[in-house]
Amino acid sequence: MDLTYGPEYDAFRAEVQAFLAANRAHAPADARPKDPASIRWQARLIAQGYTARIIPAAYGGAGRPPDILKSRIIAEEFASAGVSMGLGGQGISMLVPTLLEVGTEAQRAQFIAPTLRGDMVWCQGYSEPGAGSDLASLRTSAIVDGDDFVINGQKIWTSTAHIADWMFCLVRTEPQAPKHDGISFLLLRMDTPGIEIRPLIDMTMNRNFNEVFFTDVRVPVTQIVGKRGDGWKVANVILKNERDSLSNPNAALARLNALRDIMREETIDGDRLIDKPAFRDRLMRIEGRVMALLFNDLRVLSSQLNHGQDASLARMVVKLQGTELRHELERLAIDVMGENGLAYGSNPYLRDRGSWQYAYMFYLGLIIGGGTSQIQKNIIAERGLGLPRESKLATA
């Protein structure tokens, strides 16, 4: 067992630290799409190889060889310095790897570089009001008419739809085929006539999502990724990657430490909250769970570096455990703050800009979204433990 990264990586870490020290003044507080400072910062990071790291230079990436440890060091150092890692979003995280895997050369050439630069912002059109857990039952239809698909239907949970230039989406092109085989993966411009975007306010009272309505929206048949009817497979090339990023135990640790600070600073009837044994017991209980996931994460990382180490079950439980843990951690913070913990919006007694209530709700959203906890449990039971699948009908 060796938890050190070795001299090559220590040197790389020093290099990242030096870059951060020299350049952090240029970083935006929060990278936002279409924000010029964010786009400039993104360019600097690509040039340095700190984002779009392994994407070929020909497509506008940094063109570095894959190195899990270096990627992790970058993430760790940026996180610990509190500096933005550049632009995110589903175009960069989902569409680019999809095109690299199954796009045509023309599609790669057209879309990847501007997406990485931040000049082309994407949104994702997968979920529908009637197709959530059962995504493959989606009904937005695309019928061929001449050189176009004509799209009718509705998408939901479309974050950034209102600022996106393009959407990648799943539509039903073969209504007669079995449900997984009738889907195609299309790219379309958001300014195409017939698209209506409505904001979807969530329980945090923010516009984190939208609904998107399609009425006779015409999209050239060339704007398909993969073949007609292969959309389900195309989407699954990367769908599985999405789930991991939702529950980073290092972020949980940072929150735990922030909560401990609150408990040391705030008082009730003159006693520090950290001196309330019932709260302290809850805090330590959560800390134990955070540790378990932190070390589990290290194990997963190590298994990617070292052949023969199997951490597939360890990886499979991360989303379920991580999101539930965060929800409970945020709840504990609210409980220790008591009535002050209810503060929201403009309340002058907010701690950490109201992020405790926000995250408490947002993590409930994550428990539900990206594969609900119920579905996570099915996956763990079936793929992780080898329990028998239910009949197709019964797979919720």
């Binding site: 959530g132 979807l200 329980m203 009730i268 008591g338 009535e339 002058p348 409930l364 979204g369 919720a396």
Partner: protein
């Protein structure tokens, strides 16, 4: 022996249910949550007798019991009604009745009953004072601050000082600064009162009465949670019956079914708990504070579980503002902290 609601109690709650169903549907709640005025609803519940509930008929009230107040609170929670109640209709009348002088009772109770005055209540000096709060009396005037004042949009306030006293302070008193405080629950205004040598009228018999006044406030908030949780469960069950995935209603999947069953199994016994605790103010007054605290601690835990689970049953829809389920989620969260969080309540009853 009859441990259940009387016909009169059913009539009372039915009348409130009907009123709120007709005049305070979700669309109206939203409007008020977004800053709209609730005057007509306040007038409506006044006409129904809600502020008069605990006030004796000699003062223009209807003279009902603590249990009746809990039953009404439950209905208000079920409908996330954006109207004053816990301070104005429960804490203030009880404080005046138990701790006020006959003169004070004659002066204020009829006005509360008639809706001519609304009372808020700021008890935080006695329910867990946070840094920067605390109310001190000098020469009959108040200095300091109290936070989380319930039914904040009021004409006067019942204020607990840091030394077991209770006071009436007028909203327009000299040296009183009022700051509204935004919380997650936008159905109920709360705020902070900052006193600078502020004139106040002491309630002469506060000493022995505070435990009962606080207990009744706690019971009413707890009943509100019970109602809100019941609504969330009802909605989850309905949604599970209607929403189809994988070709069948999601309520036919064992996982969803068991989530609903666990909610019901935890929630249903709290109803009897509320009846018993509410009834104890008349039947077993010495035990009432302990029962009310226990009830609030317990329903807060159950409510938190139901709020989360019912939202989960709704899937993504539960997370949106479209079905508005979050108003109930937040109301349960609000009640959990006000007048004593579960840990504090359990500390209170463990003596």
């Amino acid at each position: 022996m009859e441990f259940g609601l009387s016909a009169e109690q059913r009539l009372l709650t039915d009348s409130v249910v009907r009123y709120l169903r007709d005049l305070a549907p979700l669309s109206r709640v939203r409007q008020i949550a977004d800053g709209g005025r609730a005057d007509d609803l306040i007038a409506g519940i006044t006409e129904l007798g809600l502020p008069a509930l605990l006030i004796e008929d000699t003062h223009g009230g209807v003279g009902l019991t603590a249990l009746d107040a809990c039953l009404v609170a439950e209905v208000l929670g079920y409908h996330v009604a954006p109207v004053p109640f816990v301070a104005n209709a429960v804490i203030a009348p009880t404080a005046l009745r138990l701790a006020g002088s006959p003169t004070q009772q004659r002066a204020y109770l009829p006005k509360i009953a008639a809706g001519e005055m609304i009372f808020g209540a700021g008890l935080s000096s006695r329910t867990g004072a946070r840094a920067g709060t605390g109310v001190h009396v000098r020469n009959g005037r108040l200095s300091g601050a109290t936070r989380f004042v319930l039914d904040f949009a009021a004409d006067a306030y019942i204020i607990a000082d840091s030394d077991a006293g209770l006071h009436i302070v007028m909203a327009d008193a000299a040296g009183l600064e009022r700051r509204a405080l935004e919380t997650i629950d936008r159905t109920r205004p709360i705020g902070e009162l900052i006193f600078t040598d502020t004139p106040a009228e002491p309630l002469p018999n506060a000493a022995g009465a505070f435990a009962t006044i606080l207990a009744l406030g706690r019971a009413a908030l707890a009943a509100d949670t019970l109602g809100a949780a019941q609504y969330m469960l009802d909605q989850a069950v309905d949604y599970a019956k209607q929403r189809h995935q994988f070709g069948r209603p999601i309520g036919s999947f064992q996982a969803v079914k068991h989530m609903c069953a666990e909610m019901a199994a935890n929630l249903e016994p709290t109803r009897a708990f509320m009846w018993y605790a509410g009834n104890s103010f008349a039947a077993l007054p010495d035990e009432a504070p302990r029962l009310a605290s226990h009830f609030k601690a317990h329903i807060s835990e159950v409510g938190t579980f139901v709020a989360k689970t019912a939202t989960e049953v709704h899937g993504g829809m539960g997370f949106t503002d479209l079905v508005g389920l979050h108003y109930w989620f937040k109301r349960i969260g609000f009640n959990r902290q006000m007048l004593g969080s579960p840990e504090r309540l359990r500390e209170d009853v463990s003596g």
